[in-house]
Symmetry: C2
Subunit: 378 residues, 2 copies
């Protein structure tokens, strides 16, 4: 029986994680639940999973919690989140979205034996800091992201591969012509063909910024040079990653597009637990692969160039992307303005090294302010 | 530099093996070449690869060899084959076809450090004897057969899988209606859609007897219970096998249908050498899977039932299949008479245990005679 703390329990990954735990109660016990502000969903989760600790990051929302069982300790606000992050447990599931995950993650590395990491921004903006600290504290960090999780599964056994391929569904706008992109509405971009995920990652899937971030994750988690990380379009999202050996033999890792599968793997590793959904050969199954047309996804190119530049580049791009998507989701800008913002920022920031974690936050704030300024000019 | 002895150097697998060696001369040195009777092809191979030992199993053909360099030792006939099998070497490639491989293989286990085994009949008819002896002599036996080789590759890393799937192209007659099968000619059955192989195995691919034999190989090599070995139709022959873990995640092993790839792997294992042909994502790649309709392939069912019965069953079926195919290739019987012969034999043999290797040969001879008798009545 492993104790689990869930950061971001009311989001898409959090709910999937609780579903895995619900179906494997003899293996896992929820120790703590943490949400930003969704108190309604949190209260239902408290009732079902009886955690010992609860955290609500938004203080105003925290005030809405009434009649909490006295055995449950409630943490409130940013300070509360810090305390919640200091609770010792077997496994944490880190699914706070965006760069906000970074501070609790860095603290939590000192207190969790294993962290199932669903947040990619922490690795993209501050991967060296996170992974170095995890190494020092001997905390195992397991990627939950399906592609990186698949690579982890494939490499858990043999790591003598010479190249890896991440698959990309191509997102909601794969078949759109460039000239039609400026008119797409939020609802269209949020209609991902294969995955049900959070809003930002779904939009990042349409621009392939998400795939760029996964390339960075692959680089960080597996020490792979960027030139050995390929992307291949695979619309069905059943194959998540492939590794290629020196003799060009490929191993592919396959499961249906259901986040509960990589979550189960990350929670139960090195064991495996029963699946909730399976690919099988009872009917016809078709897997198609086609080359990525890089020109179709200019933001991917920017992210990959940022990755090669290093330093603060990805922090700036991530901050810009987060704000631009927020504006798009709020119907303040057009979809193609996300492209414009990223382009603008990539040619108007000053490259700098990241010497401390504070530098990460500095450049994140700088990029967000600068992006807002720019977006106001559109 | 590893020394290699090739048994069956003028056949399809032998030629592919020499092509691998030709392209990797710094890794491999041909020590010995052995053919049944194709002296013409052998002489060309001798000229190119300068082996120290040469063996021609058919004595009459051996007589045709003239002007052999005095440094090369020539072995003739069955006795010569026995002596050739006793040459010490790093690796043997055993590609003699049919049950004739069994005697030289059993001797060779005492003299080769590693045997790349392309012959499946030896495992099907006498797997326990072969693998037990290999264990005693600490001789590594690596399967060359693409599906079993793929399983070996997948299991070399993790062997905690719960099920395996072998893929089947379905062979040359996949789209034929049962009523049309009696009329198919030899040329049609030999037109395999994806693989270029020897004649018997190509016909066994059309009846799926070959796939049944591979199920037996999987059972023998990986100690898998028969119920955990599945077959899935995959017409493109790019995925050769899949393993399924407890959580139903699948790993697939992929390479193009080119025997040089599993041969390279078997020769170079545990290293990998450069590929001669590769799957890539430069164009569209489509992989389709569909369930096997067992009723379409009655001989597969017979082989799998024979496997479960054990004892002499597979030896009898293999002998019958070999003779029936020989008759079909000689235009003496119709394609569907192979079905009739196998059906007849499966209901007219006496089950017996195989206590010694002599029992294997006894039942092989018995089955072949009995099959000939039966075929004469058609």
């Amino acid at each position: 029986m492993k104790t689990i703390n869930i950061f971001g329990s009311t989001g898409s990954i959090g709910k999937n994680t609780l579903d895995v735990i619900r179906k494997n109660k003899k293996d896992f016990k929820v120790l703590g639940l943490c949400t930003h502000s969704n108190v309604g969903a949190l209260c239902a989760q408290i009732k079902e999973f009886s955690p010992s600790y609860v955290c609500v990051v938004n203080e105003e929302s925290a005030g809405k919690i009434k009649h909490l069982n006295k055995k449950i300790k409630l943490f409130k606000g940013e300070i509360g989140l810090r305390e919640f992050s200091s609770i010792n447990c077997d496994t944490s599931l880190m699914a706070i979205s965006g760069i906000s995950a970074l501070k609790p993650l860095m603290i939590n590395i000192e207190h969790a034996k294993k962290i199932a990491l669903a947040n990619k921004e922490s690795i993209v903006t501050a991967g060296d800091f996170v992974l170095d600290k995890a190494k020092r504290f001997k905390t195992k960090i397991l990627p939950v992201d399906s592609e990186i999780n698949a690579l982890f599964q494939l490499s858990a056994s043999q790591n003598n591969f010479s190249k890896v391929y991440l698959t990309a569904s191509g997102g909601a706008l794969f078949d759109y012509k460039p000239k039609d992109l400026s008119r797409v509405c939020v609802k269209t971009v949020l209609s991902h063909p294969t995955w049900r995920m959070g809003r930002r990652i779904t939009i990042d899937s349409a621009t392939l910024v998400n795939k760029g971030f996964e390339v960075v994750e692959s680089h960080q988690f597996f020490n792979l040079p960027y030139e050995n990380i390929g992307i291949v379009i695979h619309r069905e999202s059943n194959v998540h990653a492939l590794v290629e050996f020196k003799d060009k033999t490929l191993f592919a890792c396959m499961y249906p597009p259901d986040m509960r599968i990589p979550i189960s793997f990350a929670l139960s590793y090195p064991k495996r637990i029963d699946a909730l959904q399976t690919l099988n050969f009872k009917g016809k199954l078709s897997l198609t692969f086609e080359p990525l047309r890089v020109r179709q996804f200019p933001l991917l190119d920017i992210v990959l160039n940022g990755a090669k530049r290093g330093g603060n580049s990805l922090t700036v791009l991530n901050g810009c992307d987060e704000v631009a998507i927020e504006y798009f989701l709020g119907n303040k800008i057009k979809f193609t303005d996300i492209y414009k913002a990223m382009n603008y920022m990539f040619s108007h920031y000053k490259q700098a090294k990241l010497k401390t974690l504070d530098d990460v936050f500095y450049w994140d704030t700088w990029a967000k302010e600068k992006t807002k300024e720019y977006l106001r000019t559109l």
